[in-house]
Symmetry: C2
């Protein structure tokens, strides 16, 4: 059984609606997707660290469309792990655990990994929205499209724009 | 630079004094080390899950003798990660993060991994007190002696009884 590693923020959890919302509260105007396309999250939303360090931020996120149903099927076909670069944000750890329990109840604690860097993870396939994680991963890499990575060529990574496309690649 | 993975409970954090203490409060008598030698922690201390699920348990632990000084030297000679099977205990996540920050301030969030299973970690050397983690690890394994593992032969793992012995093996 192949081992599959799936990221949380930007792959399972929809972070951009919250970034737009918090940024609008502070800036008085809601940015458009075009304005933040191809721009690192930290530059697109200058106070992003304040948002993601605040209690409740991660717990309030909404799952990305189709992720719950398709991940359930992947969970039956792969040795699945959810790997989140979360240790930078200590408050997020318990929230991410509770969030997975709520929206992905078929994911057990044995399948959760909260870390700082992902290059120490040994797996066959990695799905992530950040080049910094995919670039250091030795095996098959799938780039999940998010505004911050859209302008850049996917390089050796396979780009997907939705969970339906992931199903097309991994559930055939 | 070789990648070294070090466990927390029973290797960096001294859990037995707390197990004896909580067990004594409930049972009215302090067990001896002899009584719990060679016995899985769960059998030796029947209510152990209650203790480790309670808020504050992990935060109150004390570092094992010499671990702070020797790990600091290892941190300069190895690509070091602290890997703790912590996701079974969601309350422990933030506590373990804070505990590392207090007692091992040279360990950054980039070097922390909180997971459920350790066989997905890719490294050269693993130090742990549990056979279930070491047995599935492909490379060099070092068993840190704790009462629960004392009666069993170390098998292919190298057994150490102290952090000074770890220094003898890895800092020569």
């Amino acid at each position: 059984m192949e081992r599959l590693v799936v990221d949380m923020d930007g792959v399972l959890a929809d972070v951009y609606p919250h970034f737009f919302h918090y940024d609008e509260i502070e800036g008085g105007r809601r940015k458009t997707v075009e304005e933040v396309t191809g721009i690192p999250e930290l530059e697109a939303f200058p106070n992003i660290r304040k948002y993601i360090y605040s209690k409740g931020f991660f717990r309030a996120l909404v799952p990305i469309e189709d992720s719950q149903e398709i991940l359930k099927q992947l969970n039956e076909r792969y040795e699945l792990f959810i790997v989140s670069a979360a240790t930078e944000f200590p408050l997020s750890l318990e929230e991410k655990h509770a969030w997975l329990n709520e929206y992905f109840p078929y994911i057990s604690w044995q399948q959760m990994v909260f870390c700082g860097q992902k290059h120490i993870i040994d797996a066959d396939i990695m799905i992530d929205d950040h080049f910094r994680h995919l670039d250091r991963f030795k095996n098959r890499t799938i780039l999940f499209s998010q505004p911050h990575n859209l302008a850049k060529d996917a390089g050796r990574h396979e780009r997907v724009n939705s969970w339906k496309e992931i199903a097309g690649l991994l559930l055939k």
